[in-house]
């Protein structure tokens, strides 16, 4: 069973989705919940069976698909991908479980199960073409979710989402094919295995071009400024479940791919582009926070704040040291939980009032106390309050970048603190004061179906904020091997100096232990 547990995780939801066509529509949701619970249990078992002392890939499977062209079905996970996979199956589970009465619910459940296959596939794939297959396939279910269940502008939003990502990933595909060609030049055989590519040391100019090609694909997905314009539309129009999955899991594909592809394959280019990317990341943090402040629509506030926090993840990733990358991986999980929960919460109020305008609300805390409490906790987590999940990740990311540049870190850190203003002010407008709108006076508080999704998220947000060690340890050991590889592979003096060698890391490791 353990030999094929990743294939099981990837294809179980897909097979279940195909079988789902037979299930009657009134039982579709129950079927979806059952399947996703099984999937989640399997993913927890994966964590249980995961050997935290091993920093490399585990549970690897390798089947030749196109040996003439070096394409294999090669999957495996390490500490970096393990928790994102668990998060993906967790969000699919609570997402399906908390679905309300929607039209065509059977189609939605089937689509979500297909989406789950592609999400797990992306994070488990270790072959570039296999990665690309899942990466592209994930667009189709999301396109359908936004386009069929979205708001009035849904078609525009879904097409924009699809075309942006599709264009970017085609450029990335050219980069992948070029990388395979270079590997073929060096060794005489075709291979798309990422692990084989890691062993290839490239001259700087190739690294720069390939880094740029991959960057376009990943940056659009993240989305990094200035490619972020598709995301507010997608979030604005998507149904609640679509926004939740998009924010919690799909966006992580981009940041995860930076760590899986760009950093270990092109360490010198990563060091070369470190400051330009840091500038973009800081612009992202500050600019989107300002845009969020100007929004009238509560969902747009959450959407822009989500982009803003993605900036911190990028900053941590491009710190190129163990603290920064560990922090950014941890922040991916934290961001997933927090922004996923916030989109759930926006969905709750939208279901009741069918509007997301903040001016329509006010004084909700007195009408819906439980709702206001959970929203408050999640909002605090989002702004990075200590003892909540995002704080750990943000702190480590900034600590990592502090080693590279004090000023940039200071700017980013201040921006995060200032960013709290817009969250607090929109919270104040929606929840405190008198109940101004009569329509709000009789709103029912969160019901048990919604609590089913929100309570676990709140517990996790607090748990990981207080005691992040179970996650940080495996992440840390895998990140260490990535950084070690990068340092060994770096050929330029800039790369060697920016990427620390791990012998000098002993001191910072102890300081990390203090953080934990």
């Amino acid at each position: 069973m353990l030999d094929h547990i990743l294939s099981l995780l990837i294809f179980f939801p897909a097979i279940a989705a195909i079988m789902g066509f037979v299930v009657h529509k009134e039982s579709a949701k129950a079927f979806g919940v059952a399947v996703s619970v099984i999937e989640f249990v399997i993913s927890l078992y994966l964590w249980f069976a995961f050997d935290t002392n091993v920093s490399g890939m585990q549970f690897m499977e390798n089947i030749s698909v196109v040996p003439a062209f070096g394409i294999n079905y090669l999957v495996g996970i390490d500490g970096i991908s393990l928790f994102i996979i668990i998060m993906a199956s967790f969000f699919t589970m609570i997402g399906i479980a908390s679905l309300g009465d929607m039209k065509k619910i059977k189609n939605l459940v089937i689509t979500l199960l297909f989406l789950q296959m592609t999400m797990v596939g992306v994070f488990a794939a270790l072959d570039a073409i296999l990665f690309y297959v899942f990466w592209e396939l994930s667009l189709v279910p999301m396109l359908y979710i936004i386009g069929a269940w979205g708001g009035p502008l849904r078609i525009y939003a879904s097409v924009k989402f699809f075309l942006y990502t599709f264009t970017g990933s085609l450029v990335m595909l050219v980069g992948m094919l070029f990388m395979a060609f270079l590997y073929n030049q060096a060794t005489g055989v075709w291979s798309f295995s990422i692990l084989e590519w890691y062993r290839l040391i490239l001259p700087l100019n190739y690294q720069l071009w390939l880094f740029a090609a991959f960057f376009i694909g990943f940056a659009i997905k993240v989305p990094m400024f200035p490619f972020h314009t598709w995301l507010p539309y997608a979030h604005g129009q998507a149904p609640t479940i679509g926004s939740v999955i998009l924010a919690a899991v799909l966006l992580k594909m981009g940041t995860y791919a930076f760590i899986r592809f760009s950093l270990p394959m092109f360490p010198d280019a990563a060091a070369f582009f470190m400051f330009p990317i840091a500038v973009i990341a800081i612009i992202m943090i500050i600019y989107t926070a300002m845009v969020a402040y100007a929004q009238e629509d509560i969902k747009q506030v959450v959407a822009y704040s989500s982009i803003s926090h993605m900036g911190v993840i990028i900053l941590g990733t491009f710190a190129l040291n163990v603290e920064g990358i560990t922090g950014s991986v941890f922040l991916m999980i934290g961001h997933g939980i927090v922004s996923g929960a916030l989109f759930f919460l926006v969905g709750v109020i939208y279901d009741r009032r069918h509007t997301k305008m903040m001016s329509e609300f006010g004084g909700l805390a007195s009408v819906m106390p439980r709702y206001a409490t959970i929203f408050g906790i999640m909002m605090m987590a989002s702004v990075g309050l200590p003892l909540l999940v995002n704080f750990v990740g943000e702190f480590l990311s900034l600590l990592g970048f502090y080693n590279q540049s004090h000023i940039a870190t200071l700017l980013a850190g201040t921006a995060i603190i200032v960013g709290a203003i817009y969250m607090l002010s929109s919270y104040k407008r929606a929840f405190f004061g008198e109940v101004t709108n009569e329509a709000n006076r009789k709103l029912p508080d969160v019901n048990s179906r919604e609590l089913l999704a929100l309570i676990p998220l709140t517990i996790i947000a607090v748990w990981l904020g207080v005691y992040p060690k179970p996650l940080l340890d495996p992440i840390n050991s895998s990140v260490k091997s990535v950084v070690m590889l990068m340092h060994e592979k770096a050929i330029t003096p800039e790369g060697k100096s920016r990427i620390p060698s791990l012998e000098n890391k002993v001191t910072t490791q102890t300081s990390e232990a203090e953080v934990k």
């Binding site: 030749s64 698909v65 196109v66 040996p67 003439a68 062209f69 073409i129 690309y132 297959v133 592209e136 396939l137 667009l139 189709v140 396109l143 359908y144 386009g147 069929a148 849904r154 078609i155 879904s158 097409v159 699809f162 075309l163 599709f166 264009t167 085609l170 450029v171 595909l173 050219v174 094919l177 070029f178 395979a180 060609f181 073929n184």
Partner: protein
């Protein structure tokens, strides 16, 4: 006094002609049968033609086994040239024909299939295309081309709609012009080299190091224009959308595959030595044609309001994409061309068959053309299976993994990258992104819009019959499970292309 000419039957190597003779015999047989016993049902003719075409396919398998052991075979005064290219081309031609013929068995009656001549002409056409690819003699290529084209003009006109006549006449006029170009181009090259065989021309040119370059270029340009008409390269593509619109959907699908692969094989034979001759001007011309064909056709396809016209422009764009292989000119690129076209056969024939299955006799109110986009609005509600299968073909055409055309695309782009055409590879990738939009448009109409015009739901499967569903099923299975067959296909094709020296 003429001296005796001694020709032994062995030296003629009649076996090389067998694959072409089978459909000719079949066509004559059908005509003779019609003389003796009139008014037979079309199903009989369909099955009879299918039998002959399958026999043809069997003889091709036989020749390819022969090719694997003995290498390239010459025959019939060295006019016939059975190499890997010829065999691969014929496999696609005959294979696509096998998939096409059962599409005649619609549940509604159509005028053209009631004539036995339709099937006779169809078999003659197959034979013509087979001659075209299995020789490097320009005269025989010309004969094969005209034999096939004249039959094809008639087949289009037989569809008996006002637009069909327009289409046939348009295609005929353009085809006549192309024939003139071809004859003129061959004449110039013959005058320069004293031979009509491409490999001998290459030998002469290489021996005197392209001494008469201006004349060579004139000849080559005329030939390129003539073949450009056949494979619909911009700016010689203008007939394509109108002809596709006028022809029946199944015939349009067939035209987007078979005549083009025949054309590509000839172009490949022609340009193999020219590309490697070091004449920069030729590479530039070809480069420009490839990019303009891909990009312009994509942009025109964006603004179409009819699915069939969109598919017409899309197949022009695919032709431009594949033409890049000729420009790159490596073994990998040439193999990629065949791989791409085999996968394209399944997907594109499937897409056109889905249009064919929903062909109406009369347009509904508010419907501007036979296959306008709004006809398919909200299809997921009335015919979910049709909508899903159609979406599958669209995703494959867009190059979404893991469907069929994705594998063709990556192998082709990889060929470009591997021979230093990185800019070309990027343009190819970006064109795939543009193309994504118009394929997506149909999916959006089918899955996300509400029905716009009042059409009975049975229209969407109006022509459905067991044989049509079988063909669509085969196309869909080929599209979805392509990833399993890609490896044997690549190995098979590469061996054939490599052993023919391309």
């Amino acid at each position: 006094m003429l001296s005796h000419v001694n020709i032994s039957l062995e030296s003629l190597n009649i076996a090389t002609l067998v694959p072409m003779l089978i459909p000719i015999v079949g066509a004559l047989f059908i005509l003779v049968l019609d003389l003796f016993k009139k008014d037979q049902r079309k199903s009989m003719y369909v099955m009879l033609s299918l039998l002959f075409v399958m026999l043809d396919f069997g003889s091709l398998i036989d020749s390819s086994i022969d090719f694997n052991t003995n290498g390239t075979i010459l025959g019939y005064f060295d006019m016939m040239l059975v190499d890997g290219l010829a065999l691969l081309g014929q496999f696609i031609i005959v294979g696509a024909s096998i998939l096409f013929i059962p599409l005649a068995l619609t549940s509604k009656r159509f005028h053209e299939f009631s004539y036995p001549e339709f099937f006779a002409l169809f078999l003659f056409m197959i034979s013509g295309f087979q001659f075209m690819v299995a020789t490097d003699n320009l005269i025989l290529i010309f004969i094969g081309l005209e034999m096939a084209s004249l039959a094809l003009y008639t087949l289009i006109a037989l569809h008996n709609r006002s637009k069909s006549f327009e289409a046939a006449v348009k295609y005929f006029t353009m085809g006549a012009l192309a024939a003139g170009f071809f004859a003129f181009g061959s004449m110039v090259l013959y005058a320069l080299t004293g031979s009509v065989e491409i490999h001998q021309m290459a030998a002469v040119f290489n021996a005197d190091e392209f001494a008469n370059l201006p004349f060579i270029l004139v000849g080559v340009v005329f030939l390129l224009a003539a073949l450009g008409f056949k494979v619909s390269l911009v700016p010689f593509h203008t007939w394509a959308p109108d002809v596709y619109e006028g022809a029946s959907a199944s015939m349009a699908g067939y035209m987007s595959i078979v005549p083009k692969i025949a054309g590509f094989v000839v172009v490949m034979r022609m340009f193999e030595f020219l590309i490697h001759s070091g004449v920069v001007w030729l590479n530039v011309v070809l480069y420009a044609i490839v990019i303009v064909t891909m990009t312009a056709a994509n942009i025109w396809a964006l603004v179409q309001s009819d699915v069939k016209r969109m598919l017409a422009y899309s197949s022009i764009s695919h032709a431009g994409f594949v033409m890049a292989a000729i420009l790159i000119g490596t073994t990998q690129a040439n193999s990629a061309l065949f791989l791409y076209w085999i996968l394209f056969t399944f997907t594109n024939l499937g897409a056109f068959s889905m249009l064919w299955i929903s062909r109406q006799k009369n347009l509904a109110a508010g419907q501007s053309s036979d296959h306008s986009y709004n006809k398919f609005a909200g299809l997921i509600k009335v015919a979910p299976i049709s909508a899903t299968i159609m979406a599958l073909f669209m995703l494959s055409l867009a190059g979404l993994p893991p469907f069929a055309l994705f594998w063709g695309k990556i192998y082709m782009i990889s060929a470009a990258v591997s021979s230093g055409y990185v800019v070309l590879a990027l343009i190819m990738a970006l064109n795939s992104a543009i193309a994504g939009y118009y394929y997506l448009k149909l999916i959006i109409y089918m899955f996300m819009k509400e029905p716009e015009i009042d059409i009975e739901s049975k229209v969407y499967t109006m022509n459905s019959s067991v044989s049509l569903r079988t063909i669509i099923g085969i196309a869909a299975v080929g599209t979805v499970f392509a990833s399993i067959v890609v490896n044997p296909l690549i190995e098979f094709i590469t061996a054939f292309v490599y052993n023919s020296g391309y």
